[in-house]
């Protein structure tokens, strides 16, 4: 080792971008915290306060899920999720294809379709439900319609992202063999994305099952309507019993769905 001090290479300075972003996020957090009236001491105090709702969580009533009405509402939730997901999945594939360059060579229709997708994606599930309850009245129908649009938002987005990264080779091969555009999409593009697409549909089913638990809060059918009923009566122990049982089911369905999705991809 030599005695002269070693010169380290200059320490890389964080880029102005990193500094700016970090600073921006801190400022944004402070502004937002003030907007919502965030106070740490208030938080601790409020969390510790006893209230009937939290008390219901302690005296939870597990049996509610098995009452005739709740069971029917649960089945309705399942049916709504299945129908909404299926209908959404069917229209999502062509829409995803037409909103990417691979599937739609025309710029203006593509841009219009993408803007439409962005609007659909910006509306949350409960808002869709609220809209359809206003439009077509209460029941399972607005629920199914809401889940249909919500599914479209999820599946189209994920599928379109996958389409942007597919192998272009088979597309050239299909064109070179004289296939029409639709034939090319069916034989060279769809087989490439089908496993991913099926996996997104299952994922969307999980989301829909979860969402359909709350659609009933605005009158769009399913188990949410029972939850809303107990909420109105202030019967919190039954409400939490129903909620926890339902989400145990959701966790099981999710576990099953993840198993299938792993095999698909």
């Amino acid at each position: 080792m030599s005695d002269s001090p070693l010169r380290l290479p200059p320490k890389p300075k964080p880029s102005p971008w990193t500094v700016g972003l970090s600073l921006g996020m801190v400022v944004f957090t402070v502004v937002c915290a003030r907007t919502v009236g965030f106070s740490f001491s208030g938080l601790v105090e409020d969390l510790g306060r006893t209230n009937p709702v939290a008390q219901g969580l302690v005296d939870i009533s597990w049996g509610e899920m098995f009452s005739e009405r709740s069971r029917r509402a649960f089945l309705e939730t399942l049916q709504m999720a299945v129908i909404g997901t299926t209908a959404g999945a069917v229209v999502s594939l062509p829409i995803a294809l037409w909103s990417t360059e691979v599937g739609n060579p025309y710029l203006i229709p593509r841009v219009l379709l993408r803007s439409f997708n962005n609007v659909v994606r910006a509306i949350p599930d409960l808002l869709w439900a609220g809209l359809f309850v206003l439009g077509v009245g209460i029941g399972a129908l607005p629920g199914v319609l809401a889940l249909f649009f919500f599914s479209m938002a999820v599946i189209v987005k994920l599928t379109a992202d996958t389409l942007d990264g597919i192998d272009m080779g088979p597309i050239e091969a299909a064109k070179a063999s004289g296939a029409s555009h639709t034939q090319m999409l069916r034989t060279a593009v769809v087989p490439q994305i089908l496993p991913a697409y099926s996996s997104y549909v299952l994922y969307d089913f999980e989301l829909n099952l979860r969402a359909s638990a709350v659609l009933g809060l605005v009158g769009a059918g399913g188990i949410g309507q029972r939850i809303d009923f107990f909420r109105g009566r202030g019967d919190w122990s039954k409400l939490w019993g129903l909620v926890l049982m339902f989400f145990l089911v959701v966790v099981v369905v999710e576990w099953l769905s993840v198993k299938i999705r792993r095999r698909l991809v």
Binding site: L6, L43, D46, V53, A54, N118, A122, I123, L127, L248
Partner: protein, 287 residues
């Protein structure tokens, strides 16, 4: 000249059976058939739906109350702030919890239990959580913030523990070799590496949470959702229509900005690695 199609026919091998596909397809068909038939729904009503929706849109947009715009935009801002504070709070809670879910830190049983907690938290929608927090915090945005925060702990915690579990492998062996403890390793070996991904995921979660926070008001947890519930109750279709536009525009604006930052972060990362490699080559001559 002969052609490929002339000559004796050839025998294809027998088609293999794909049991997995068959089972999944059958299960789906049965499930769908049962749902479509037994659901309590008059399918004929579906035909009237377009006309119904058209009437609704006419009621909402024939006379837009623009004077309400300021108030609605302010409420949308509340929703955005709720989503951000909730996301940050979730991240703060998720870090210690994720230690309890990492198998290489606490062992299998505790990790398993913590993960199930994450799974359940991920499964419960924010609106349900808001039902719990509204009585504690009253009809304020804080109830919404807590609902968002608790709802996001599951997915952020999952991301964090996956990162922690990967500590033992790969390029961190160097810090291991100098005898660094696990937490030191986390601080110096892992966090600098994954910081861009973490930030990017946080922003992504924020985009998701905007959608949740804009409806939380329906159960009284603050933000623009409350207007939607009220206008529906009092049949103020004009206000509801404008609120819908505000939600859509606000969400798309946040999506666009957040998305641009995320893309920039991921793009910037590759440059950072390039610089690091440059320095690594330079220092190589010193030893």
């Amino acid at each position: 000249m002969s052609s490929i199609s002339t000559g004796a026919p050839v025998q294809l091998p027998s088609k293999p059976r794909d049991t997995f596909k068959l089972v999944v397809t059958t299960a789906f068909v049965v499930l769908f058939g049962w749902s479509a038939i037994s659901v309590d729904l008059k399918w004929s009503r579906l035909l009237d739906a377009p006309a119904d929706m058209y009437r609704l849109f006419k009621a909402m947009y024939s006379d837009i109350p623009w004077e309400e715009l300021d108030r609605l935009a302010g409420l949308m801002w509340d929703s955005i702030a709720m989503a951000w504070v909730g996301t940050i709070m979730a991240a703060i809670f998720a870090v210690p919890l994720s230690f309890l879910a990492a198998e290489n830190l606490v062992g299998r049983p505790i990790a398993w239990v913590t993960r199930q907690v994450f799974n359940v938290l991920r499964a419960v929608p924010e609106v349900i959580l808001a039902l719990l927090f509204v009585p504690m915090f009253g009809l304020t945005p804080m109830a919404g913030v807590l609902a968002i925060a608790v709802g996001s702990i599951g997915s952020l915690g999952k991301l964090f523990y996956e990162i922690i579990e990967n500590i033992d492998s790969g390029p961190i062996e160097a810090t291991d070799a100098v005898g660094a403890g696990r937490l030191q390793r986390l601080r110096w070996g892992v966090i600098p590496q994954v910081a861009p991904e973490l930030t990017s995921f946080l922003l992504y979660r924020f985009e998701i949470n905007i959608r949740a926070s804009s409806v939380l008001g329906i159960v009284g947890a603050g933000g623009i959702g409350g207007v939607l519930a009220d206008t529906v109750r009092f049949k103020e279709y004009g206000v509801a229509g404008l609120a819908l536009i505000v939600v859509i525009v606000g969400t798309i604006i946040v999506d666009t900005i957040s998305g641009a930052i995320r893309r920039r972060i991921v793009a910037g990362r590759t440059i950072d690695i390039g610089e690091a490699q440059m320095y690594a080559v330079d220092t190589g001559g010193l030893s």
